[in-house]
Symmetry: C2
Subunit: 252 residues, 2 copies
């Protein structure tokens, strides 16, 4: 038995999300089918982050074990031959049998893309949130920085979530204006609650519109009250950019 | 009667091309349907460039006349409300009745995108040609420059084309390496023959692979023989970037 980790990129547009669901195509489901065909037995794959329906990934990480031993480059080609073009295995490596892509992840990075112009760019329709109206990008950038540090992010958690703790450490939270009409929000942390990045973005956009002040973020975090935060930004603007591990580099 | 010019962006993936065909959805067809609904009579639209099936546009220009007079910003909103999200009207302006988007065009700019890595990026699958294997980008850049100037481009014309003259002036022809895996070819000229840009790109890639030398471009142009040039690069890597007019700026 050999254990492997793969780095995947996928366009989440037509999926129910990373995780297998009762109905609909999931990235996990398609990966597990490709692995089962390869190993001629059922294979379970564990993903570092459970991306929601419509969320994309440039570097998701998944771990699994195979009965047969396969060279990493052969594994990449064999899986890509079985997966649809919207899911690509970027790299593979053999890992210790104890490696778990989800529980061994030390940090994750996400990017959220906002397209801010009157007319939506047709090429961005599945890859950015279309926000019309003038945004105060400086105020949004100021507010973004206030998420950094260790905080209880209960106010930014999907309603009905139950996790042991809603404390998380955000290492970096920055707004980048890549072009006059394209705003990127980039965040790295040791973990994220369900819908946390999207709720942070929904709140940042309210600050961009002047509906709340940048310094209200501090009170909002302290409130631990989801109803005080902004709306959940749409899934299709969100990209899982990278997952970090102690010993194992997730980079291809 | 009022005459208008609109600037359009579209994702060409699911279209038979700009031009109306016997079967399949065309950008021209959908624009004309939206215009007919607006003007309550059949309207004919003329496009600056007849992009092929799968070819995209960031700034196509189309001209038409309407019985009713409509403010430019109202026209943009009314057309976008009737067009699918893959086609967007970026701007509109009233033009002299004699204006013709096709015959008055003085120059067009195209960009061709090549994704050069072993594993294709899922987000580029409809927007770049996937070329695997090491490319000599410097040789390709040298070759690209040799297209500049006034030449007879008969060797780069789709077989069976009949045009008055195959002479064209290329103002600029450059290769840009935007990222290690992304190569952009950008060309501006007073006009292009059918499949000309794609055949130029197919030939540049052969030079990138060392199958022909950069200076062979000069002989190839002189040959006027399509069978001497490289293959036609796939349509989905090509973008119409801009159209220039004497008096009328195509920019929104």
């Amino acid at each position: 038995v050999s254990a492997y980790a793969v780095v995947l990129a996928y366009d989440g547009t037509d999926f129910v999300g990373w995780q297998r669901q009762a109905a609909g195509a999931s990235i996990q489901g398609l990966l597990e089918e490709a692995l089962a065909a390869l190993d001629e037995r059922p294979v379970k794959a564990t993903g570092a982050g459970r991306t929601d329906a419509g969320v994309h990934a440039l570097q998701q990480v998944a771990s699994f074990t195979l009965e047969r031993s396969i060279a990493a480059d052969v594994l990449v080609r064999a899986l890509n031959a079985r997966l649809p073009p919207v899911i690509r295995i970027r790299s593979a490596r053999e890992v210790p049998a104890t490696f778990n892509a989800r529980f061994d992840a030390r940090a994750k990075s996400y990017r959220y893309r906002i397209f801010n112009d009157l007319v939506m760019c047709p090429f961005e329709r599945h890859y950015a949130w279309h926000v019309t109206g003038r945004l105060d990008v400086a105020a949004m950038g100021d507010a973004a920085r206030r998420f950094e540090g260790r905080h209880d992010f209960a106010a930014f958690q999907a309603a009905g979530s139950s996790v042991a703790t809603s404390e998380r450490t955000i290492r970096s939270s920055r707004l980048v204006s890549e072009a006059p009409d394209l705003i990127l929000y980039e965040v790295t942390g040791d973990g994220f609650l369900r819908h946390m990045v999207r709720t942070m973005v929904g709140t940042l956009v309210e600050i961009g519109f002047g509906r709340r002040n940048a310094d209200s973020i501090d009170e909002l975090i302290a409130s631990r009250d989801r109803s005080q935060a902004g709306p959940t930004a749409p899934a299709h603007g969100l990209f899982l950019m990278a997952v970090e591990y102690d010993a194992l580099a997730a980079e291809p």
